[in-house]
């Protein structure tokens, strides 16, 4: 049973020089942990971009009446909005959908008028986690509205104040009424914070004389990554024939290039991290094997065949690699799991900076929740394992081909 003997010898070899083995294990383990933590951050970053962009406002896809996106004319509406929402939700891969009304209006607390956008929303659906009104306590219906915090500050409006809204109905008539500002909202979307008055969609429909009509249906798919296919599927539905259906990538090309740019930067860094990890492992394994040239010379002189020596080294390094990779996975995985659970406060890391960032019209939370997928672990383990095996087998093979006397002298 040469293979078995070989494995036993290899295993025993590992523990003959504990310092060397510990060094190699540390190199491999740390590399795997490093790669995993970085993978976790990368995955968080990609989720974070996608969610901040699509969650509150854009959705994964949107449905509009033809031409509305260009001119935002009040009268370019989707008719039978509730039936349309139902039809969209019937489509495969759709998680849910919600209708919105957007109408320009003049708002005034006293005599000064301010330009605002009235957004009529399905309050229940928009209050779900990560959506527009997530975390907002929604007022009772009955001419009660929410107002963007910055707009309210500009207008000097406080919760409980009465405001006048003046707009134009879809039929051209003058829409005007008094509303109570139930609460101020701070959402992830700048536009809403700066310009919006949010009211239940049925009240907006009544105010702007557009019964069961809407300007936009926001669609959330089951898989955010498959937004294009989602839009494609919706376009083929007969109920949506003739309407504009676009996925978020088509709706917000600026966001797409932002995502691509950030993603490319992160992937370059991932490559560097991988190379650094592999170099560390390779260096440790190379040194550890070269160090044993004398020992291999002895074995050759005793009549061990070069292939058996290489085989032995392969088993040794494989065992080292596996133990190291498992340790690294445990450490990296635990770090990511802990950080995912508590979140990393970027503000605290940078010494009390802001907790969110307002760029590209969105508020980006600066709390980091890394996450790992199985594929990340497999990839990191395999990469480091392969590096350690190659980095030890190559010097071993070289030593095994030497003249025994020469190898002994080295």
């Amino acid at each position: 049973m040469p293979g078995f003997t070989m494995s036993r010898i290899a295993w025993r070899n590992l523990w003959r020089n504990r310092r060397r083995t510990a060094l190699a294990l540390a190199a491999i383990g740390l590399s795997v942990a490093l790669v995993l933590v970085y993978d976790g951050l990368l995955r968080w970053e990609s989720d974070w971009l996608l969610q901040t962009i699509t969650g509150p406002m854009l959705g994964h896809a949107q449905v509009h009446a033809p031409g509305w996106r260009k001119t935002r004319d009040l009268d370019k509406t989707l008719r039978h909005a509730s039936a349309l929402v139902a039809a969209v939700e019937d489509a495969p891969d759709v998680a849910d959908a919600t209708a919105r009304v957007y109408a320009p209006a003049l708002a005034a607390k006293g005599e000064e008028g301010f330009a605002v956008v009235v957004i009529g929303v399905d309050v229940e659906r928009e209050s779900r986690p990560t959506r527009l009104l997530a975390g907002v306590s929604v007022p009772d219906p009955g001419r009660r509205v929410l107002m963007g915090r910055q707009l309210a500050e500009q207008m000097g409006v406080r919760p409980g104040d009465e405001i006048a809204l003046v707009g134009q109905g879809v039929d051209g008539s003058l829409a005007n009424d008094l509303f109570t500002v139930a609460a101020l909202v701070e959402t992830a979307v700048d536009l809403v914070n700066r310009q919006a008055v949010v009211m239940p969609i049925d009240e907006a429909q009544q105010f702007f004389v557009m019964p069961d009509e809407a300007h936009e249906i926001v669609v959330y798919g089951r898989d955010a990554e498959r937004a294009a296919a989602l839009a494609e599927g919706l376009r083929a539905r007969p109920a949506l024939a003739g309407l504009d259906v676009l996925d978020w990538r088509a709706l917000a090309p600026a966001m797409v290039s932002l995502v691509d740019l950030v993603q490319a930067a992160w992937i370059v860094v991932l490559l560097l991290v991988l190379i650094a990890a592999a170099a560390g492992v390779a260096n440790t394994m190379l040194m550890a094997t070269f160090e044993r040239t004398h020992e291999f010379g002895m074995l050759l002189a005793l009549g061990t065949s070069p292939s058996r020596i290489v085989g032995m080294i392969l088993v040794e390094s494989m065992a080292l690699g596996l133990i190291g990779a498992l340790t690294g996975t445990a450490i990296g995985g635990a770090l990511v799991a802990w950080a995912h659970h508590t979140g990393i406060d970027y503000a605290a890391l940078t010494g009390g900076g802001p907790s969110s960032l307002s760029v590209f019209g969105m508020n980006w939370s600066l709390r980091i929740y890394p996450r790992l997928a199985l594929v990340d672990v497999t990839r990191a383990v395999l990469a480091v394992l392969a590096t350690s095996v190659v980095a030890s087998a190559w010097p071993a093979a070289r030593a095994a081909r030497l003249q025994p006397a020469r190898a002994l002298r080295d």
Partner: protein, 276 residues
């Protein structure tokens, strides 16, 4: 659309979204009829192909619907792709700076009023008993759901100040002159160029507004010439935006009285809220 840069949004969020347009011109004159009757019928040229003096021409046209003061009754018909709507108005003007417009019909909007003093514009809404000043950012929004903008009511006097004018070419049918007005450098506004066709008896026939990209944005035509308030003028004006098919606003003067003495408080906020 969250990601959309806001200028686009901002523009779209103007009060009534349909019309975006900085108008100069007639529209204003329209809403604030006025006139010096002396000018009527003056200057009928004998030998047509002699171009009129452009400054005098513009002054005359500016003056056509305006005077020291006026009281007018008019009707507005808004035709849109989805609906048709008509309004009946009563308007008071004094000089170039003051105007009061009150909607008399339909009943749903009766009593809704707009007061203009200088560059300020207020709307009074009787249903909620509120007076609201129109913010500068909404000046390009539609006035009362028509194709006229709030700006049309305010900026009517800037035509000669903001534009360099010249007689451009002769028109044979209808007989008259095309006047070209090109915006002066450094002036902020929507129109790069305005062309107007003026008949040989010095009445406006057509006016074209070109935006900053040189595209025709809207056309105003003038017809139904009759004598109102002792002055001969086109009583029917049609404003047609180029980019919205089946959309237009027509305005018809029913009667006009010029140079009527008006009480001092006609153009005040307190008067705005106290309907006649």
């Amino acid at each position: 659309m969250a990601g959309r840069a806001s200028p686009e949004w901002y523009r779209n969020c103007l009060w009534y979204s349909q019309m975006r347009g900085r108008a100069v011109s007639w529209c204003a004159a329209v809403a604030m009829a006025g006139a010096a009757s002396a000018a009527v019928g003056a200057a009928i040229p004998q030998a047509p192909p002699r171009p009129p003096d452009v400054e005098a021409l513009l002054t005359r046209i500016d003056d056509l619907y305006r005077s020291t003061s006026s009281i007018a009754r008019m009707e507005i018909l808004v035709t849109g792709p989805r609906s048709t709507r008509s309004l009946r108005l009563r308007a008071w003007t004094r000089g170039e700076e003051e105007a009061l417009i009150v909607i008399e019909a339909p009943p749903r909007e009766e009593g809704t009023a707009t007061l203009r003093v200088g560059d300020n514009l207020w709307n009074y809404l009787p249903r909620i008993a509120r007076t609201i000043r129109v913010p500068p950012s909404m000046m390009l929004g539609s006035w009362m759901g028509t194709d006229f903008t709030n700006d049309d009511l305010v900026k009517e006097s800037s035509l000669r100040k903001d534009f360099a004018s010249r007689i451009d070419r002769r028109s044979d049918d209808p007989a008259g002159w095309w006047v070209a007005l090109d915006v002066k450098p450094g002036v902020v506004g929507r129109w790069a160029r305005i062309e107007m066709l003026v008949s040989d008896d010095l009445l406006p026939i057509e006016e074209r507004h070109f935006d900053r990209r040189g595209r025709l944005a809207r056309t105003m035509t003038f017809d139904e010439i009759k004598t109102l308030g002792g002055r001969r003028l086109p009583a029917h004006l049609t404003l047609t935006p180029t980019d919205t098919p089946n959309q237009r606003t027509e305005l018809r003067y029913l009667d006009v009285r010029f140079d009527v003495p008006l009480p001092d408080d006609t153009f005040s906020l307190s008067r705005l809220e106290r309907r006649p």
